[in-house]
Symmetry: D3
Subunit: 139 residues, 6 copies
């Protein structure tokens, strides 16, 4: 059950309408999913979140779109976000994630969760070899 | 500070020695990082964790090694695991992650964390469009 | 689905009855929400949790009741607690949280979650300027 | 230890310089804390994060600045973010948080964490009384 | 709602059949719970997870089976895993956890969550008395 | 680094003195660890937290003291609480946890973390067999 009620006619607000139109244009689809319909309760928040998600996920960057969606799913699983896990798995599938890649994603996420627990339990010193390279090498 | 003391001469135990040898062989390097040196306090646990990490991270699979390391980092960040974030960022760099990809990884992880919080706060219903496809399509 | 069954007639136990009566008296309402009905499976635990929640949330203190409820909601969102997010949003509304304040709460929580992920990923040194002031200044 | 190296002379990049100048102007101080110095390794990410943090935390909105900083601290504690807890406690103090309010913040955060664990363990149904009011009442 | 579809006839795959048979034999029961039915979408992952869970939870070791199930529940609560909390509470009951022990488990988990939040908020130095004993004493 | 400064002479406050005396008496030791020294910045909070921790951890109950300390450690690991992991591992050792039990604890915690991630990723329906027994059976 949602913790707030979405506005019944969100696109009657021109700021919401503009965001929804940009979502449709960016995705080439008429579908506007519930995240945005609920966020419409506060048009400024809707604008900010969409601008951020669009800049990160719908803009070409160093990582390809499928990899970005799989990383998004990994974070959503660890944060126990049901909605996000569903929506970004769907997006990863739409960008070509195969069932074998899906299984691999779960394999990496769950093994990482296991060793994260072990290392947070044992807390050995970080090896010098893992320290950040010097600025000129990294920058 | 570590919460337990590593054995002072771990390779005097033949089970530990066998795992360390396999780590060196698998990685083509003499370096055995602290995780394994501390896990050596319990040879059976060391064997289990190495077998799992090797199977998932050092074996060819659907996802390439660099992508798997970046997903591992994403999980480690959310679980606030300092050691794991360092060690798997180093591994991702060793497998070719560029500074631009590193920045993209942080961008996706932090934006996902933001919307995870929003969705766990609002909890709208999951759109029917995101539900798992039927078994024949997915299996 | 709950993971344990609440007692069918909780107020037949005089310790439960006393807590429920105090909840009603403190809140000026006949409504006793499900948290307490389920906790009644162990009267001692019920007493301890109610004593703590009452002392912190239903007693006058430095922060006003609405602010405390919003902080409670923030923690509940990050811990992915569905029940708590609902119940303390309702309490915050009852203490006067406006829709604009609700939106602001979500804005702060989600932006904090974003930078928490970034900082747990980058782990820069804490600036000396942020260190705790000396005892005489703070105490 | 940080997981990446900050650029040695960040303000030689005009995009970084512009953000640092805006940070100084917004805060009325010459101090630019480490978060921004490390984020400067990727000017676009620096710009995005500063724009978001400025919009949420340094712009007048429904909640006052002190309350927003305390909510930020609450989230940072639960996400185990050492840097963020330090920096936003400092900001809350700078905006007038008294030691008594600081104690109250810790009291609410820790009691919420306790009941979050209890409710995630018991998972009783959410009371109908806590459901979102209908849109006209809330919107 | 699940995020992927389980195979409709999982035991037609001989690798899945072998794991399911081992689950039935190990537990002395015909019941194979949904975790394994869904994991069957990837037989290799199913094999790895079952091998790990069997080695840790269904093999005699230093801790008795009931204690291990209660520790498993504690972790699952904090990770907000609904399925795991249900399944391992059922397992703990089957291994003799009494209602009083169940209540005690919740009492410890929730008090730990409270002080975890306090300590992650205050971050006092770890007392020298808590440091790991030297290897000869511990190893 | 701590985020607040402990009072320099905590026992000059009679409420703090009373709590410290009770800690010493309960534990039969002169040692008062840093948690309490830092909490002394707010005597009421100190009293509340000590009363809760004493009731749960230093009072006879259904679970033995060693088991309770190990469950406390499990929760502290998942919440990434460095201080708590150290202090409750020390307490578990003092109550007889052997190195083999320590290893078993890590084995259960890390395997639980792995399957928690898997189940939060897959989210299969909870089996009817795991549902809470009816009240008369459980109460």
């Amino acid at each position: 059950m949602a913790t707030l009620a979405p506005p019944p006619d969100p696109e009657s607000d021109p700021r919401v309408r503009a965001v929804f139109d940009d979502i449709r244009r960016t995705r080439g689809s008429d579908f506007v999913n519930n995240l945005w319909r609920w966020l419409a309760f506060d048009p400024a928040l809707l604008e900010e979140v969409w601008r951020d998600v669009k800049a990160v996920m719908a803009t070409e960057s160093a990582l390809d779109a499928k990899t970005k969606e799989m990383i998004y799913v990994a974070v959503s699983i660890v944060n126990a976000c049901d909605y996000c896990t569903h929506s970004h798995l769907a997006a990863a599938r739409a960008r070509g994630m195969s069932p074998a890649e899906h299984a691999d994603l779960l394999r990496v996420v769950s093994t990482a969760a296991r060793t994260n627990a072990l290392l947070n339990a044992i807390r050995p010193p970080v090896d010098a070899a893992f320290l950040a390279p010097d600025p000129d090498a990294d920058g």
